[in-house]
């Protein structure tokens, strides 16, 4: 059994040996740091991407909660009454009834057409719930009194070669057609909006499709998004419609993310395995080159456990410093990116999200890899015949 004095001597030798070759020292620390950074950063990026997708969906589409008609109903009725009940709930900060229809947009000059989703809302009410108004690329957002104006997504506008000020013909599901002026082009960073949606005001829509006191859906914003489940139970008795939270409305995204999740888990596991192997190889080679030193130590009276202690301490030094620097660098980069987000594409910014649990798990795995990689060759070398090693020099 090794005693405290031997541990102190082993620590002394480990420190001397570790600092003997700066190049190897730096190489191992950098390799460990970058391995950790790779794992933490990719995961943070994926988490940031997922968060951004959720945030965009909530901020631009679903709000915190959505009320929709029963399956056998086309509309929600008595909307004014429902709105009053919802407004009476403290913590509800925005309510926006919406009307959804299918329509055909026709660009008159070249007679280009596209089938699209038409969404009607009252802009001042919608602005309390979503942040669609922040996504205007050119032109202006709708005002409550606009009756002959529409907003169009950037991709759809590009496809139909349309710009702000252009006039288009809209054909609604009931066969009625009307000319509108494009007031603004949206760049939301969501395909569903940029390619597939056109927005009009409720006032304009109501002129030719009577939607008075009814709606296709009501989107709601709460003061605290974390209270959605509580509010769901509060709202259910207030309506005959179905009450959804943003979570249930984004289940389709969640399913998609789960399938990426498998890829991410595999990527992370492979990343950890690759990093662990790389670290193991570097430390293994480093320790294996110390056979002569190990044999000398044995010859002058160093026990196997003493020798193992030296290389265990060395591996601990490498492991701790590598993980420490890796985490510092990862935290620094992620901190920088919090203020300078990654612009994945126009209108879609990704801020990586630091995952503490993953950072801890990856740190532990890499630390154990460094430890194993250092101890195994030392253990092998400690078992080597001293005479062969020393006189074989």
């Amino acid at each position: 059994m090794i005693n405290l004095k031997e541990i102190k001597t082993a620590a002394f030798l480990a420190r001397k040996d570790t600092l003997k070759d700066w190049k190897i020292f730096v190489l191992v620390i950098v390799a460990l740091s970058f391995s950790l950074l790779n794992i933490v950063f990719i995961q943070a990026l994926m988490s940031g991407l997922v968060s951004e997708i959720y945030a965009q969906t909530v901020d631009l589409s679903t709000g915190h909660m959505v009320i929709e008609p029963d399956k056998d109903q086309e509309y929600l009725y008595n909307i004014n009454n429902l709105e009053k009940k919802l407004e009476a709930l403290s913590g509800v900060v925005g309510i926006s009834p919406r009307y959804v229809d299918r329509a055909i947009i026709i660009e008159k000059k070249h007679d280009k057409k596209s089938s699209t989703t038409l969404i009607a809302f009252t802009p001042s009410r919608e602005n309390d719930v979503t942040q669609l108004y922040k996504k205007i690329k050119s032109g202006e957002f709708l005002s409550d009194g606009d009756e002959n104006e529409i907003l169009i997504g950037k991709t759809l506008a590009d496809d139909l070669e349309l710009a702000v000020g252009d006039k288009v013909k809209m054909v609604f599901s009931n066969g009625v057609s009307k000319e509108f002026r494009i007031k603004g082009v949206l760049d939301a960073g969501m395909e569903q909006i940029d390619r597939g949606s056109i927005y009009v005001t409720t006032q304009g829509y109501d002129k030719f499709l009577n939607v008075h006191d009814k709606a296709s859906s009501v989107v709601i914003r709460l003061a605290d998004i974390n209270q959605v489940e509580n509010y769901r139970y509060m709202i259910i008795p207030l309506t005959r419609g179905e009450v959804y939270t943003w979570k249930t409305k984004t289940e389709y995204i969640q399913r998609q993310i789960e399938s990426w999740g498998m890829v991410t888990v595999m990527t992370t596991l492979i990343g950890i395995l690759t990093a662990a192997t790389a670290i193991a190889i570097i430390i293994y080679i480093n320790t294996s080159s110390k056979k002569r030193e190990i044999a000398i130590l044995k010859a002058i009276g160093g026990s196997n456990s003493f020798i193992m202690t030296i290389y265990t301490i060395e591996s601990i030094i490498f492991g701790l410093l590598g993980i420490l620097f890796g985490n510092i660098v990862a935290y620094g980069i992620l901190g920088y990116m919090a203020n300078h987000p990654l612009q994945a594409r126009e209108g879609f910014q990704v801020i990586p999200v630091y995952n503490l649990d993953l950072a801890i798990s990856a740190s532990i795995i890499l630390f154990l890899s460094a430890l194993t990689a250092g101890i195994y060759p030392a253990w092998k070398a400690a078992k080597t015949n001293i005479t062969k090693t020393i006189w074989g020099v």
Partner: protein, 227 residues
């Protein structure tokens, strides 16, 4: 057994290299008294270093007995051998075998530190003074000449006050002047500290500085002469 510190009885060592067996020691019987300075001589392949390794517990005999200080070391396990080496044997190697990352003083104090001595540094400096290298205590092996490195290595062998010093061709890599200094230093140690010294050498001139020369040939003692 009197005051013999080393006794070997019918010591044999056979090395196996694949299907080929090579007999390095063929029944060596010898006794070395405490405080003796003995040179082991012989041509290359005569078994000198193998014998030294057996006495130094660095290797195990195929058969036969070794008694060190009246202890049958054949019954010791590896851990006991290591502990015995640490406390009772000092080694001086042909290639010095100092640790390059340590200074001269640190190399000398190392076995003392492993043993757990608290005054290793002071003692290391004393020993470096004894071998005439106190002023080089802070130098690393790469900054020392071959002769100086070997003297550091001798100081290291002495740090735990071993009763036995084993030197394997300690002068083989030194010029004649340095070689003479090293052997004279070993003699001085024997005279002043009454340590038993067993030195393997192939240089007769140096062997003659020992009290006694044991000649080996083909793994057997062929002559044992007092100088």
């Amino acid at each position: 057994m009197g005051n013999s510190i080393i006794i070997t009885r019918n010591l044999r060592k056979i090395y196996k290299m694949g299907k080929i067996e090579f007999s390095a020691l063929n029944g060596v019987d010898l006794e070395i008294e405490e405080g003796e300075f003995v040179a082991i001589m012989g041509s290359s392949g005569s078994g000198k270093t193998t014998l030294l390794n057996m006495i130094g517990l660095l290797d195990f005999p195929t058969s036969g007995k070794i008694f060190l200080d009246n202890t049958d070391v054949a019954t010791m396990d590896e851990q006991q051998c290591t502990s015995y080496r640490l406390k009772k044997i000092g080694f001086v190697f042909q290639f010095f075998n100092l640790l390059n990352e340590l200074t001269g003083a640190e190399n000398v104090m190392l076995p003392g530190m492993i043993k757990g001595n608290s005054n290793s540094r002071e003692k290391a400096l004393e020993l470096l003074q004894l071998v005439g290298l106190k002023e080089r205590a802070g130098h690393k092996p790469s900054e020392l000449s071959g002769g100086q490195q070997q003297r550091v290595s001798i100081a290291r062998a002495l740090i735990n006050d071993p009763r036995l010093i084993l030197a394997d061709e300690p002068t083989a890599n030194l010029d004649s002047n340095s070689a003479m200094q090293v052997v004279n230093l070993l003699r001085k140690l024997r005279n002043e500290q009454n340590q038993t010294i067993v030195m393997v050498t192939h240089e007769l001139e140096l062997g003659k500085l020992a009290d006694r020369i044991i000649w080996l040939k083909d793994g057997m003692v062929i002559k044992d002469e007092i100088n």
